[in-house]
């Protein structure tokens, strides 16, 4: 019991159940997925496909054996590592990740690509490991594993652009991991512990850790890796990528920085700025990428608003986002698979041959737009209600604007340009059955959660009696949506809506990817010219020095040739005179 008490601090308000013996026939929750990933690496295609579906189910069954308060710790080189810490927050994310892994697994059944299947399973497993990590070192381990496993989903496209994109992605995430490790070290120095708990912003460790998490979480200016990498991955890879990395980061934020006010403003900025990019972006998966940053903005905002409704809203929205954003990515992946195109300007009219996909996509669009009776509505409104309740009027207005924007670019633009709009003449086949099944499950979940939110609410970290379906919420949201739709229709009919152009839109990563190299190139050219000049000058000087040295010291030179004795005698006399002069001056002074 003593051990129980010492560990009570790690799991506030829960009954601690230490799992350090062969207490139960349970595996660490991350193990089923990781083991399946390793087995899949060696397994034949049929078994790999089975694993893709069965491993998440096995993992979920295993997961259900745990309850809040479970703890597994191990000692390594003097550090007590908390390998497993179960509480409601972690449990919810773990459940979500298994669900996402299952959906992506079903979605991936048509493919035979071993690299993607293995990477996907390991990636999901690392995400589960990360949310259960009780201390910063274990978190660091899974944090890096996330980066390393996920990059193969980008490289799996096997194109030069995606290879380079993947390298940039890896660079960013390794940097994030290094920052996390530095933060952990600072935390150890400052507090003498590595336990990952709520921190107050102020210590150096907290800022470094926030930066590490912020990179993965797509904080403004740190977000470019997402819109760079996600559209570069395979149709399948993007579905995996969209589910885990950013959500793990949201989990880490909720764990460590609950109620930190700066997060409200960061979240607000994140919800706002991607809208403009999303509206003008042509690549529909990149549109979804921006929309994703926008949705994470709501979550970050919710975390910043703090315990209770704020965090509940953030977590619930993360849960829903994985499903509806996964659904949207899956539908776009199906379009990409069948047509080979993903730019809005090259698509259109696909509803004729892909009606089911179109319909499922519209369910996702309705969810992300937070239509009542769809999942987005029941979680997004929590964050906005809390913002208004806490008196952040500006934030509330900004989130309102962001909601309208989401509807615009994700709710209307994605399905409209892909499946309707002008007829592109493309007549692709309907998506493969496994894809439709996966999308169907996701769509069902969207509607189910939208209609019966209490099941989700029961899983949230804080007890809630929130009721989304009151008159105010519904009416307000419908007004917003209808006026937003009106605006879209008006703009389209009057031709003001920015046309989908075959263009590349510049984000801040332009500075890193184009401006900086160009500037560097110019600087290098200028510097090179100067350096060359200096070198040439030095070479000339050296040449002169060399010829002087040769003239003086070579066997034919002044100092190198044997002197006539007279010369030496002359110098002896000179030296004598010099010494006499010195002695005379020295003694005279």
């Amino acid at each position: 019991m003593a051990a129980t008490e010492t560990h009570a601090q790690y799991v506030m308000g829960e009954t601690v159940r230490l799992l350090d013996g062969p207490l139960q026939a349970l595996l660490h929750p991350a193990l089923p997925l990781l083991v399946a990933g390793v087995v899949a690496a060696l397994a034949p295609p049929r078994l790999r496909k089975a694993l893709l579906v069965l491993a998440p189910l096995w993992g979920a069954w295993n997961l259900l054996g745990f309850t809040s308060g479970d703890l597994v710790s191990a000692e390594l080189a003097g550090f007590e590592l908390i390998l497993l810490r179960v509480d409601k927050l972690a449990f919810l994310f773990a459940l979500l990740f298994h669900l996402a892994a299952l959906l992506a697994g079903i979605y991936a059944l048509h493919s035979d690509d071993r690299m993607q299947q293995v990477a996907g399973l390991l990636y999901a497993g690392s995400a589960v490991g990360a949310v259960f990590a009780g201390d910063l070192l274990v978190l660091f381990f899974f944090w890096e594993l996330l980066a390393i496993t996920s990059v193969f989903l980008i490289w799996a496209r096997r194109e030069t652009a995606s290879t380079r994109s993947g390298l940039r992605y890896l660079l960013v995430h390794i940097a994030s991991g290094v920052l996390l490790l530095i933060g952990a070290a600072l935390h150890w120095i400052e507090f003498g512990t590595l336990v990952f708990e709520r921190m107050d912003l102020g210590s150096a460790a907290s800022w470094v850790l926030l930066l590490a998490i912020g990179i993965k979480c797509c904080f403004p200016l740190l977000h470019t890796w997402l819109v760079d990498a996600y559209p570069a991955a395979t149709e399948l890879g993007t579905v995996y990528l969209a589910s885990f990395t950013t959500k793990t980061a949201v989990y880490a934020l909720a764990r460590g920085y609950e109620g930190c006010e700066p997060l409200i403003w960061i979240g607000m900025a994140m919800a706002m700025f991607p809208i403009f990019y999303a509206v003008i972006e042509n690549d529909l998966r990149r549109v979804l990428g921006y929309s994703m940053i926008n949705q994470i903005g709501f979550m970050v905002c919710g975390v910043g608003l703090g315990a209770g409704l704020g965090v509940n809203g953030a977590v619930a929205h993360a849960f829903n986002d994985v499903i509806f954003k996964g659904l949207l990515f899956m539908s776009m992946g199906a379009v990409l698979l069948r047509t080979g195109r993903i730019n809005g300007s090259e698509l259109g009219g696909l509803y004729k041959t892909m009606p089911q996909t179109a319909g499922l996509c519209m369910v996702g669009a309705a969810s992300i737009s937070a239509f009542p009776l769809f999942s987005g509505f029941v979680s997004k409104s929590m964050v906005m209600t809390e913002a208004a309740h806490e008196g952040y009027v500006v934030v509330w207005l900004a989130l309102l604007f962001a909601s309208a924007g989401v509807f615009h670019h994700a709710g209307i633009k994605i399905p409209f340009f892909a499946f309707f709009a002008h007829d592109s003449g493309l007549r692709p086949k309907e998506a493969p059955l496994n894809m439709r099944v996966a999308m169907g499950i996701a769509a069902l979940l969207c509607i189910a959660i939208g209609c019966f939110p209490n099941a989700l609410y029961a899983l949230l970290p804080y007890a809630t009696d929130y009721h989304p379906y009151d008159t105010t919420h519904v009416v307000q949201q419908l007004q917003l949506l209808f006026f937003s739709a009106l605006a879209f229709v008006t703009l389209m009919l009057t031709g003001i809506y920015p046309p989908e152009l075959r263009s590349t839109n510049l984000d801040v990563d332009w500075f890193a990817r184009r401006a900086a190299p160009r500037t560097l190139r110019v600087l290098a050219a200028v510097g090179g010219a100067i350096w060359y000049g200096v070198l040439a000058g030095l070479a000339d000087v050296l040449k002169v020095v060399r010829s002087v040295v040769r003239w003086l010291h070579s066997p034919a030179g002044r100092l190198g040739e044997p002197w006539p004795t007279g010369t030496t005698v002359f110098w002896a006399a000179t030296l004598l005179g010099l010494l006499l002069l010195f002695s005379y001056l020295g003694s005279a002074l």
């Binding site: 004795t565 002896a572 030296l575």
Partner: protein, 517 residues
């Protein structure tokens, strides 16, 4: 003072009946007596054995003397029982014992070296003359370091100089005659200047004993006569020491002398002059007078730095190995005089430890060249081409000796250079330390030229054939042994520098604390 000295001298003679009292005299008398014996017996074999035996004996005596000096302080020996300042006193200081140790060691090892072939101009049946001159030269050099009498120093200086002119003139190349003649002129001027200086000082103090003169000089230091005497002494010694720009007699002399003579003189002659200069500067006049009042540093330091660069740069361009080594010696002497001009313990220690370190290094390298010359018949840098495989031991010996010239850590050269840099830093002259390091890079260049030739050069045409048209082989053991001993010494005393450094340091402390300082 005089009476006290008399008393001391008598006491020493009276109280100690042991034979080792006479060691200071024995050290000089042995080679001095052996030299005419060689002449009288007119046998080459006898002369060879006798000279080698005498050289080893002097080395043994030097070792005993050094131990005695270190244990008991300065050893005094009034010659013929005539006490100083009236008689000639042999006075062995730590520095003096240190220098005679180096001289006798180098002499013993070079005489051990089996100089085969017709290395000198002498007909084989007259080769005994060579040994006679060699022993005379040895006696002169040892005497300079032992005697405590200024005029006696001059006498020994002339004995060693005259015999070395003769030795150099024995070189097989006819240019040796010209080199010897040039050295004769310069050496005589040097000796003459020294004599003039001694005469002027004698005129002012009425004594020739160094210590006695040092006692009397302060009273007359401000007279022009003493100043002029000092200038003559110093310039005279500078010629013998080959201080830049009075160095030009040296390259030719070392290049054209018989191989063993080059090795012997390179390791000893200038070193003894260095000791005499240190004695004149620190004991006779005192560091205060020389460096503070006259400001000798302002003259000697730039000249030393110039020597470091001129010597090393000229060495880079030399085609002949012995000439290369000779110019390198001028650079290395620059390090020694630089240490002296710093006038602090570290600087003087580096100079005195370099007496040993450079002595064994340069003698070893000259012996290496003698081996190469014996097998290939040439002593050009080019003649080393491809020797790495055909004369592996000799080649390795050159590489190690070259590393010591550069001052690579682990070799003797590093010990001296490190001490010199410490001295420069102690004197708060950072730029000097930098200059020493930069000039060491020049040594890398001239050593590398040879090393590259040894290991990467390809002999062309007849170059692969040796002196007698035979393929070049490793040098015979009797040549290799002393060479390798000297080269090994550079490594041994590079790694185990405590004994050399501690002796040199106590010698430096003794000199700096000398009379008049």
């Amino acid at each position: 003072m005089a009476a006290e000295s008399v008393g001391q001298g008598l006491q020493q003679v009276a109280l100690s009946t042991a034979f080792d009292v006479h060691f200071p005299a024995l050290e000089v008398v042995l080679p001095l007596v052996a030299a005419p014996l060689c002449f009288l017996f007119r046998s080459r074999a006898f002369a060879r054995i006798l000279s080698a035996a005498v050289a080893w004996l002097t080395f043994g005596v030097a070792l005993v003397l050094l131990q005695k000096v270190l244990a008991e302080g300065t050893v005094r020996y009034p010659l013929g029982g005539w006490a100083a300042p009236y008689g000639i006193e042999y006075r062995v200081t730590v520095a003096g014992a240190w220098v005679i140790l180096v001289v006798s060691l180098v002499a013993a090892l070079t005489l051990l070296f089996d100089s085969r072939g017709s290395a000198s101009r002498l007909a084989p049946e007259r080769r005994y003359l060579y040994y006679s001159a060699f022993l005379l030269c040895l006696a002169g050099l040892l005497g300079m370091a032992i005697t405590g009498d200024l005029f006696n120093i001059f006498v020994f200086l002339e004995i060693s100089s005259l015999s070395s002119y003769a030795l150099i003139a024995l070189g097989r190349d006819r240019r040796a005659l010209m080199a010897s003649y040039s050295y004769l002129i310069m050496g005589t001027i040097g000796g003459g200047f020294f004599m003039i200086g001694v005469g002027l000082l004698y005129q002012m103090t009425g004594t020739l004993n160094v210590e006695d003169m040092a006692q009397r000089l302060p009273a007359v230091l401000d007279t022009r006569t003493v100043l002029v005497g000092f200038a003559f002494l110093l310039v005279g010694l500078s010629i013998k020491l080959a201080v830049f720009p009075l160095h030009q007699w040296l390259p030719n002399a070392y290049t054209f002398a018989p191989p063993r003579v080059s090795a012997f003189l390179a390791g000893t002659a200038t070193k003894v002059s260095y000791y005499v200069m240190a004695e004149v500067v620190f004991v006779l006049f005192g560091a205060h007078f020389v460096f503070t009042e006259i400001g000798l540093g302002a003259v000697l330091m730039p000249l030393s730095v110039a020597a470091m660069f001129v010597g090393s740069l000229a060495a880079i361009y030399q085609a002949d190995l012995r000439r290369l080594l000779a110019y390198s010696s001028i650079g290395q002497l620059g390090y020694m005089t630089l240490g002296l001009s710093l006038a602090n313990v570290e600087g003087l220690t580096s100079g005195l430890v370099h007496v040993f370190n450079h002595g064994v290094t340069k003698s070893g390298l000259f012996l290496v060249v003698a081996c190469v010359g014996y097998r290939t018949g040439r002593t050009t840098v080019r003649s080393m081409a491809g020797l790495g495989t055909r004369m592996p031991a000799t080649s390795l010996a050159f590489v190690i000796g070259g590393m010591s010239l550069i001052g690579v850590p682990g070799t003797a050269g590093f010990v001296s250079k490190w001490e010199l840099i410490r001295g420069a830093l102690a004197a708060e002259r950072l730029w000097l330390a930098a200059v020493v390091l930069v000039s060491s890079l020049l040594a890398v260049v001239y050593v590398w030229r040879v090393v590259e030739m040894i290991y990467f050069g390809r002999p062309e045409g007849l170059e692969s054939l040796g002196r007698d048209g035979e393929p070049v082989r490793e040098a015979p053991f009797s040549m290799l042994l002393p060479t390798l001993i000297l080269v090994a010494a550079t490594v041994v005393f590079g790694l185990w520098s405590d004994p050399t450094l501690s002796v040199a340091r106590s010698a430096a402390v003794e000199l700096l604390g000398g009379a008049g300082g």
